[in-house]
Symmetry: C2
Subunit: 665 residues, 2 copies
């Protein structure tokens, strides 16, 4: 019997896949958890997802409600832990109101409520006797949170806040879970008391009756309509919300940071606002982990299919060439494979960063906050942009068949791409990084040493002076060389921006004029962090036959593919010569050759089940064509050999029996 392409690929792999799975998941226990919960979901017919792309919006949404209820009953009856429950929800693999309830509503209460408030609301939320969402964005304001228009005016005569939507643009717009499901919402509104506007604060509000689910009096709430793509966020009821002078008790203001007295005096609690930043680091860490997860799924599909797909180059009855053997295919695909690994190690490091920040906050040490804030903002931005583009690239790498939903990639993209927008527009985030970089440079003069991920800027003089030392291809295979290259690129772009801004009429005008250049510098800073974290991670011991070797190859592929992709940056700053760039390209090609026999095993190591991938092209067994064909025949469109609509709209055309209308031109 002939061996399938993928079997052959797996035989040629040079490392221990099971050991790599443990590296990817973090521990043998995590591998088991994935296996266990993954199978639970895959084997439950309620969680079927292959039919969702042919469903209309209403059917799709209703089915998501069904899945969420079913998941909740499983979680309760099996007494799953929080970690297990969250794994279960993520394997169901579609956006749902529960994401916001568990991921934003509850954390907001924890982070912004007093102990009393937590005791009041959390038990209800944990049991889901109330369901909540996070209502910040308005029709007119997303990025500019300080510009939100909803008001909450304290009325001392009744001891209540009056929450109001004064304009059309003040309508809450986008919150997930809001449109059709949530009974409660964390509402951001301008706190006004004693005639003074204290800016945006968080309130907890009931919006629907707990008896019949109707919106409460004075509340308009609805779904905002269809969103991008197949499935995707169409399983979610992103909503709109308006208040017509709705009254809520004073203590519905979440009061960890500030409260209002019975007589309307605004009183800061003394708890520093900065405490909230820990939550932001946590969210961004999760986003980076998600990026590595989504990218790894797309790459799994594209790598496996590229090994199955053959095109051109038949020689005397021998099979054609596997498209994964084309250099153009490799140079688009392998860097993405390496990036998935890079982001995983980055995510692990961000978990450490989160605990470090939390420990510092607890002892009142806010010193690392600006650096951590900038670093995590930038990492959110570059990882989500790269992942979104990477998913589409993987789809294109699958040729025509990638455009079929059967490839799994259209749904993956639709569900992922808004990550470039929510939790901060990716360009605006890079501009925040740029502000930090400019500030850091300006403080260098006064002797303030930058720390953490910005420490290298303290070394700017050397980085500006010393050019790349590479003389031959193999010289690139060196962490010190790469570290220096990425530091020099970032430092040089940053210093150049600072110089240009300094020459402008004023600081703000200069910042605005050179903001595209600043974005480039910020990207350089962030990519340096990713490269550094990947190289650092490989300094620790990692077990398993040849696992370390594969990871090193991936790490160099990641770094060198960035060097060639950002060649302009390295050249314009005079750091690299054209010759050195050619050496980098040559070395990268050698690395592709090393990676090639291990490519399929490296995606197997992500341990994604066929159910989770939801892709005929990415099947573990590589049996692509038979399954494409059989699944097509089962499509609802093929329920009968003659299509619905034939009698009304096709036969009359063919038989020249169309009724001609009386249109006028």
């Amino acid at each position: 019997m002939e061996m399938s392409s993928l079997t052959q690929e797996r035989k040629s792999a040079q490392f221990d896949v099971e050991a790599m799975k443990i590296v990817w998941e973090g521990s043998p226990e995590q591998v088991q958890l994935t296996q266990r919960i993954g199978q639970l979901v895959a084997n439950d017919a309620v969680f079927r997802k292959d039919n969702r792309v042919s469903q209309g919006r209403l059917e799709l949404f209703k089915n998501t409600l069904r899945k969420a209820a079913h998941a909740w009953s499983i979680i309760q009856s099996l007494h799953l832990t929080e970690a297990e429950a969250s794994k279960l929800r993520s394997f169901i693999d579609e956006p749902a109101y529960t994401d916001l309830h568990w991921g934003m509503f509850i954390p907001a209460i924890k982070g912004q409520g007093t102990d009393e408030q937590q005791q009041k609301w959390l038990p209800l939320a944990y049991r889901q006797t109330i369901i909540g969402c996070y209502a910040q964005t308005e029709l007119g304001h997303g990025s500019n949170v300080q510009g939100l228009e909803t008001t909450a005016t304290f009325d001392p005569s009744t001891d209540e806040f009056i929450v109001n939507t004064p304009t059309l643009t003040a309508t809450k717009w986008w919150p997930g879970g809001l449109g059709k499901v949530s009974t409660h919402a964390i509402v951001y509104a301008r706190l006004i008391t004693d005639g003074k506007d204290y800016g945006v604060h968080a309130f907890i509000m009931q919006i629907r009756s707990l008896e019949d689910h109707h919106p409460l009096p004075g509340v308009i709430v609805a779904d905002i309509g269809v969103k991008f793509g197949n499935g995707g966020y169409n399983t979610m009821d992103n909503g709109l919300l308006r208040f017509d002078n709705v009254r809520i008790p004073r203590d519905n203001l979440l009061m960890r940071v500030a409260s209002v007295t019975r007589h309307g005096k605004y009183v800061p609690s003394g708890v520093p606002r900065q405490l909230g930043y820990g939550a932001m680091v946590f969210v961004r860490k999760s986003i980076v982990m998600d990026a590595s997860n989504y990218l790894s799924r797309a790459v799994t599909i594209a790598v496996r299919y590229s090994a199955v797909r053959r095109q051109f180059g038949t020689q005397q009855g021998k099979p054609e060439i596997q498209v994964i053997d084309y250099m153009t295919q490799q140079s688009r695909l392998f860097p993405l494979l390496a990036t998935a690994y890079a982001y995983r190690f980055l995510g692990v490091w961000m978990s450490w960063l989160y605990s470090d920040v939390m420990a510092r906050l607890e002892r009142g040490d806010f010193s690392t906050l600006p650096e951590v804030h900038a670093c995590t903002a930038g990492l959110k931005s570059i990882t989500t942009s790269t992942t979104a583009d990477g998913i589409e690239e993987c789809r294109k790498l699958c040729g025509g068949h990638g455009y079929l939903c059967a490839s799994g990639l259209p749904e993956l993209y639709a569900a992922y791409v808004p990550a470039c927008t929510y939790e901060g527009d990716n360009v605006i985030l890079l501009l925040q990084v740029a502000r930090f970089l400019m500030k850091t440079l300006s403080l260098l003069g006064s002797g303030k040493k930058p720390s953490g991920t910005a420490a290298y800027l303290g070394n700017a003089a050397d980085l500006l002076a010393k050019n790349c030392q590479v003389m031959k291809e193999r010289d690139w295979i060196n962490p010190d060389i790469l570290q220096h290259a990425f530091e020099a690129r970032s430092a040089r772009l940053t210093v150049k921006c600072a110089t240009q801004i300094a020459a402008a009429s004023n600081q703000e005008a200069g910042f605005s004029e050179f903001s595209s250049e600043l974005v480039d510098a910020s990207r350089a800073h962030c990519e340096l962090i990713v490269v550094t974290r990947f190289m650092e991670a490989l300094k620790k011991e990692i077990s398993g036959r040849s696992v370390m070797k594969q990871l090193q190859t991936l790490c160099y592929v990641y770094a060198l593919s960035l060097v060639t992709a950002r060649a302009g940056d390295f050249l314009v700053t005079g750091y690299l010569s054209s010759k050195q760039l050619d050496l980098a390209k040559g070395q990268l090609r050698s690395l592709f050759r090393e990676l090639r026999p291990n490519a399929v095993a490296l995606v197997d190591s992500f341990n994604h089940s066929d159910y989770y991938l939801g892709s005929t092209l990415g099947r573990f067994d590589g049996n692509v064509y038979e399954n494409l064909y059989n699944d097509a025949l089962k499509d609802p469109m093929n329920a009968s050999p003659v299509t619905e609509g034939y009698e009304e709209y096709i036969r009359p055309v063919l038989k020249q029996q169309l009724k001609l209308p009386n249109s006028r031109l």
Copy 2:
């Protein structure tokens, strides 16, 4: 009364928009045609399209059949010309079987059928008493047409071809209009006679009964399933097709180029195969025109919304900053605006190229074919890739609201992006350009002068020797400087590839090893062509107040944004210094400032109606928020205040009344 943002924008425009519309459309008559047919479609309720994103696949498809029938009855009753009919179909703005019938089936008969065959089949096709499609691609072979597996074996005993699908991978897969509608198909199959395989030929075959539309005996035909995105190609019945030894008369072979005698002898007709290349140029010209059309629609939406959208920078009650005023926004948006114009002029030039090629072919002059073939292949590739990416970029430029289907951009992307794959995978096309470039260089030695778009390579010595002469920002505003820069970039990258390949062990190995670099060189060659055609077009007279000035600004924006985006190419070849690159960036920023007050008027000049745009964000009146809000309330999801599924799946959760299943972990 306050003036709306867009009214204000239109007042500040500095040129004659009506005159620009004529430039864009090509003539006043074309402007009128657009107006006339555009309104006809917009005012006809059958052509409503705002509901298609919430429909399931079956409903969506049936509705497309309805539109196609309705359009056909209008075309007949109003006796529309071919040009009017095709405009009508394009304004209906969704892929349908008619695209293939009129765009591929009929042209294939014209191009590959003998006069007799044309007389037999064309009248039927013109009246749509038969409906046809174009069945080339198979499950296992798309790019590699020569590898198709379907066979057509001549049987002299009955004077018939026996058409057969010998394997699973030989199943026809993808042809539009095939799955549910077509009665006939142009089928590509290997012609076998006298025991010899003569390679792939085109046959015309009936696949469904003209009486009851059932597939004919021995024919399996079906839809291949759901495709990427909202709407998009889901209105199309891309299909699969298998033959179980189906017999067709000998003269169903399209015989323009070759025929088979009654006794099975294969006889080339003497008509050169090259004649078919004219059709290819025509198709690629249309693709480039489509690119400019799609990109212009996306840019219209993003420009208008960016002028309406305000975020940050409130000062004492004054409105916030229009996001179009942010430099990062401009530097992503304005180059795309310029590109839409660039592609329009390119398309016009390709129309000329098409007639030139046809005239040559008629007099047996095949000398320009290789150059034209490479040039059009490359232009198809870069314009479709840039347009697809550009649509997504426009969507992201609209922030969160761009992700709503109400922005119109998700549908635009879904319908457009397969253009990167069909009519040739974009990477494979660039590799074809690369082969031509390598060939051209290799012939230089033997004194063969390259012509047409490759003529500059005859000048390679100078282009390699002379670096950029720019000394100050304004120097960049010079067609000669730009021409030289783009020629030098392309020539240098091409020569470098040739040198690298020459050093390889053998030609093919070298070509494969350096194929990524070859793709870069090909892209440079094609971008040079676009820049050149844009600059050439502006050498002719163009009337209308300040219209020429605007076009010049756009042309420079196009060229300089490419210089900065491809900085690596220009730097690595030593052609540009870092300083000169900075000057280019500085000049580009000045151009953005010139463009800014005209941006809205420049998209108004595309003359897209609100119906055609199908975008709340891109409305002509700029009344974005009110319409987003009102449309959302009309969404089927909001038919009742309490969602379907509440009783079954939400209430039991809230009330702790879920039935717990007996799941096992």
